[in-house]
């Protein structure tokens, strides 16, 4: 009879040893885990929290200034300036983390071509670099310089929002493009299969025609999806500033949704085509 407690202890020890040994032998496993964990959602949330806390500290200091005795006013005024600088620094940090989270999403968004991904990531990198440069200017900056940085960051935020919309649209368009190309590759292989089954002796001609029709329907839906995807992609690429970003993004998103719907309809046609091919294969095997 096995002692259950000892059995569990030993099993856990050996399982742990097994997993650690495996990870030691295959270091890619750790780096892949790091890539997965690298989604910086929590980092961004913490940066937001820090910025909000800094804002609260500034508001408290401003209130103290209001109520400060004349003798204390200069000291409290200095404190307000310092809190203001911290708030500016933490807000810039939060913006950088936000873009970092977007960049991580872009780098790990599945089924996107490398050329598309590189172009998208470079747009985000441009904004991150600009913010890092402003962050570096904060140290030792005069009051006027801090005002200027604050003003520039507010204006740049509008750019950042535009970039966020644009890269989101481009990622979605690239993903749909990948699925369209995959579907087209699937169609080619299905056609090859149909031709192969057609060549077999005693092939059911009616069933072959039915399979061909299902494949033709699949191809038609894919072509229609491709047109919508191209149109959507053009909308996103035309986004150039805050004046046109929302409108073009909405229009592009609608077109991408339509492409997605067409792909789903194509998938239903694919189910039919595969069903018919399976049945033909089974019949010909008998």
């Amino acid at each position: 009879m096995i002692n259950f407690k000892r059995f569990c202890k030993r099993a856990i020890t050996i399982l742990t040893a097994g997993v650690i040994s495996f990870l030691a032998l295959f270091p890619q496993a750790m780096s892949l885990a790091e890539v997965r964990v690298a989604y910086v959602g929590d980092v961004y949330i913490n940066a937001l929290k820090n910025s909000k806390e800094a804002k609260k500290n500034l508001e408290d200091a401003q209130l103290r200034l209001k109520n400060a005795a004349e003798d204390d006013q200069e000291d409290v005024r200095q404190e307000v300036r310092q809190k203001g600088k911290e708030y500016l620094a933490k807000t810039i940090a939060a913006l950088i983390k936000y873009l970092g989270a977007m960049k991580n999403k872009a780098e790990n968004f599945k089924q996107v071509g490398e050329a598309d991904r590189t172009a998208i990531v470079s747009q985000i990198d441009r904004e991150i670099s600009w913010l890092r440069a402003r962050e570096a200017e904060l140290d030792g900056a005069s009051a006027d310089k801090l005002k200027e940085i604050s003003q520039n960051v507010r204006e740049r935020w509008l750019n950042i929002r535009v970039t966020a919309k644009k890269v989101t649209g481009q990622l979605l368009a690239a993903r749909i493009k990948y699925l369209i190309e995959k579907s087209q590759a699937m169609a080619v292989r299905l056609q090859t299969k149909i031709s192969e089954l057609e060549m077999r002796a005693g092939a059911d001609k009616a069933a072959i025609e039915s399979a061909k029709k299902a494949l033709a329907n699949f191809n038609n839906k894919i072509s229609a999806a491709r047109e919508k995807q191209l149109a959507g992609r053009l909308k996103f690429e035309a986004i150039s500033g805050k004046d046109n970003a929302s409108k073009l993004f909405s229009e592009g998103q609608l077109l991408i949704k339509e492409a997605n719907q067409l792909l789903k309809q194509a998938q239903k046609e694919l189910v039919q085509a595969v069903k018919k091919l399976k049945s033909l294969e089974e019949k010909s095997a008998q």
Binding site: V19, F22, A29, Y87, L88, K110, E114, S150, R154, L270
Partner: protein, 99 residues
């Protein structure tokens, strides 16, 4: 003799557990590596290659269905992120700063 048989049974069970864990880990890691290989490769020939996972045509419909479901999940997260209003208030309040 009976005692020796008991030890051998235990050892056999532990070995099975270790092998099963390693097999599951290999399967999961290979699936991840396949996915990230598609992301990591940057050559022009790779850009033209579309990754069909299924070896036979009879699994194409299921594969495409999975891809479309995955797209729905991934895009909702992405759309929420681009529309994040949390920063708007913080950036707006920068205009009230007095240095």
């Amino acid at each position: 003799m009976a005692r020796k048989k008991q030890i051998n049974t235990k050892s056999f069970v532990f070995i099975i557990l270790v092998v099963a864990t390693a097999a599951v880990a290999v399967f999961l890691i290979r699936a991840e590596m396949k996915e990230f290989e598609a992301i990591g490769n940057a050559g022009a020939s790779q850009q033209k290659t579309v990754l069909i996972e299924s070896a036979d045509v009879f699994s194409f419909d299921a594969e495409l269905e999975r891809d479309l479901k995955s797209l729905d999940q991934d895009s909702s997260g992405l759309l929420l992120m681009q529309d994040d209003a949390s920063l708007q208030g913080l950036v707006n309040d920068l205009k009230n700063l007095n240095f």
